[in-house]
Subunit: 262 residues, 2 copies
Amino acid sequence: MQNNYLLLLEYQGTHFFGWQKQKDKPTVQETIENVLARIFQQKVKLVGQGRIDAGVHALGQTANFLAPARIPSANLKKAINSLLPPSIRVIDIKKVPLDFHARFSAISRTYFYLLWIGNDLPVFLRPFCTPCPFRLQIKKMQEGSRYLLGKHDFSAFCSGKDFTGSKVREIYRMEIIHRRKVALPWVNYQGKILEVEIEGNAFLKQMVRNIMGTLVEVGRGKFPPGKMKEILASGKRENAGPTLPPQGLFLKRVKYPDSIFQ
Amino acid sequence: MQNNYLLLLEYQGTHFFGWQKQKDKPTVQETIENVLARIFQQKVKLVGQGRIDAGVHALGQTANFLAPARIPSANLKKAINSLLPPSIRVIDIKKVPLDFHARFSAISRTYFYLLWIGNDLPVFLRPFCTPCPFRLQIKKMQEGSRYLLGKHDFSAFCSGKDFTGSKVREIYRMEIIHRRKVALPWVNYQGKILEVEIEGNAFLKQMVRNIMGTLVEVGRGKFPPGKMKEILASGKRENAGPTLPPQGLFLKRVKYPDSIFQ
């Protein structure tokens, strides 16, 4: 008998060439598949919720796989974690219906992006924030972001390398927050991190990073907020702002219907 | 005319084989000396406050160097930072008297060590905390740590590879704190980090990491707190606990007499 297992994963993107398997480069998918093959003594195919670019971090990446039902989930979690490199960690593992698919069953994805306002990015935050040397007007960024809400063709915010067909996606929610509480024993910088959180049904290649680059142009006053609407309507990538780097981008959560876990 | 410059440095230890120059391995001292040689077009010798082992982080490492007095300090800071890799950063640069010596002028060093209590160390904290699978009794650790205060021969807590002569050092202060406030946008774990801060005139090789390994034995109940006194008196390294790893250890601050900065 086979079980369908859903993995909830955390990993630091800096250490991998993204999620998707590639020739001669370490990726997260391949690293986990190799571990699963060792545990089950057979080839196991891991289905991710989507591709994640090199350098992007994950707090809640999801993936599923079919495997023989002979190891209890808790033991399986321990076994996988003991064989994974410490830069990837299985946070949770759940049995799901056999027809569950990490990508097609998902109802939303939430990402956030961290900007460090200023030139003095501390070395310890380097893989996690993108430094931004400009003063940003948050209200304008909030105004600009509202034009993106809802269902649109996001071609203007899509990497030219995305050949996936329809460019229509739906954004449910965007929040732009000036983080005041940043406290770890070795950092205590107040009000220096600007966080943009975005939830949508799905995202095109580099869509969040292109939206971020455009929102920064709005925040620094180079684009008026209303230009977001024009850029979107134009469908032309060259009208939008630059692609911000993957450092700073986190996949926070992938949502599935509650019924799957019942 | 020559100036004596004091550098205040921050760096992530994971990326270097420690401070001290070594053949064929990237060290912090060598990296900065190469940058200074490019700026001043001559060999510049950098004097650190002390050696720091591979993997140990620095929030406040200090070092000084003599160089021609032709660049204002603020410009020099910018020039150095623009040539350094982003894992090292000059936080401050000050002109100091010509007889100032980063090591011999120092009156104290403060380190802290971070333990993650539990097995579930998040991937993002991996270079910064040592996971500790035991429940620790902080009161017992505090009691044990008191025996270390004051001037003692610390041979029992010194790596066998330290050939520096006298093993007498003075510890001024030790604090063991259960960190309740751990909040970055991507971590919010409460009460999982135990921080031990220690200030002394100077430290022997691996002394903080050996003290930490012994304090953990006290905290988990393997050694009674009074054993700290016996271990210290014995002068024998084999009586103390294990050497904890460099991840988790931070040089926080090096103190100099105020008169230097006047």
